[in-house]
Symmetry: C2
Subunit: 211 residues, 2 copies
């Protein structure tokens, strides 16, 4: 077992710390965020920080890096248009998804460079990723400044597209059925295999765990 | 493909919506949060919302459900003592981890009921989970109220314990090596298999994705 204390973490090599802290939270979801600026430049960027806030209203959040040097394309587009999409990354396009993290000029579309197709379903303003299996249309609610300069982008779910094979009669999604992947750290992708499903944890139905 | 629009989501059966919205973000990390009240009652609760905020300072966040009916044990303990632990759930104790979500009285320790062992390493105030392989000691920084009543709990990493086999010379964690698991929705657990690791996405090194 390796132990790193507060002082070790503060004095660590920068790259080592970046890798370590980015990977200690465990597996992270892999999603592509699709946006389009007011003047019609499309943008696509991978995020591993999408998180559930509540189901009624249906709210999701994601963390955007500090924008001290001017707004990045994703956040700028979300703020000026009010819409974005969240698209699950599947195993057959992880390399394309990963390279959307490269810094490209605002006028260059990651859709084009990565050879992914922008899909405009149901007249939704922001582009979905055609190759993605589970796609969510989001309406921007607000951006909350966090103590380290990051921004928590909160939005409401406006539309969901999900393959028939991935959803059951209770509304549960099977991530394995559309080969959704997870991310560890900044650059490592994992496939998912369903292990076990439990029932709701009622107090009176806790198994006897004593040996 | 099934499509749910805004009005469908608002008028959905409550359980169906709960399951659907809880699972659309993709895979979520499975972590047990360990706390101890000022009067020494231990608590353990599963969270699937731990998210990375930044590596210097090393900040992590997690989402706590609304606490309108009084503070829940985890958040109450964090606020009154300033410390908590984050412990990766591995495949060999997912059932015990899952049942920590049952509502137990404050005086009852989930460690005891689930037959998991509280570990006090390096005199850290909050209990770690002995059975967990990757364990993080956290210092509470602040709680931010979110628009739906949830609270974003932000903390700084004070200590990390990680198995030698799970970390490489660059600080990257291999989640498969200690059988860390992910969660979908409220009750389904997935195992992880490393698929692929890419290099940093430099603009000039993007592969040619055109067919």
């Amino acid at each position: 077992m390796k132990i790193y204390k507060s002082q070790d973490i503060k004095s660590m090599n920068k790259i080592f710390r970046l890798n370590l802290i980015n990977s200690i939270t465990g597996i992270k979801p892999a999603n592509l965020i699709g946006t389009k600026s007011k003047d019609n430049f499309e943008n696509l960027a991978i995020f591993s920080s999408v998180v559930h806030l509540g189901s009624n209203p249906a709210l999701l959040a994601m963390v955007s890096r500090p924008q001290h040097d001017g707004l990045k394309d994703t956040y700028a587009n979300i703020k000026e248009t009010g819409y974005y999409t969240i698209n699950h990354v599947s195993s057959d396009f992880i390399e394309k998804a990963h390279y959307t993290s490269a810094k490209l000029e605002r006028e260059i579309s990651e859709f084009e460079i990565m050879n992914l197709d922008a899909e405009y379903s149901e007249n939704f303003y922001a582009p979905f990723v055609l190759q993605s299996h589970l796609k969510i249309g989001m309406k921007y609610i607000e951006g909350i400044d966090l103590p380290n300069g990051c921004i928590l982008i909160i939005g409401e779910v406006e539309m969901i597209q999900v393959p028939e094979k991935s959803i059951n009669e209770l509304g549960q999604i099977n991530l394995e059925n559309h080969e959704a992947v997870g991310i560890s750290g900044l650059d490592t992708y994992y496939s998912l295999k369903k292990l076990k499903q439990f029932s709701y944890a009622h107090k009176n139905e806790i198994p006897d765990f004593k040996d």
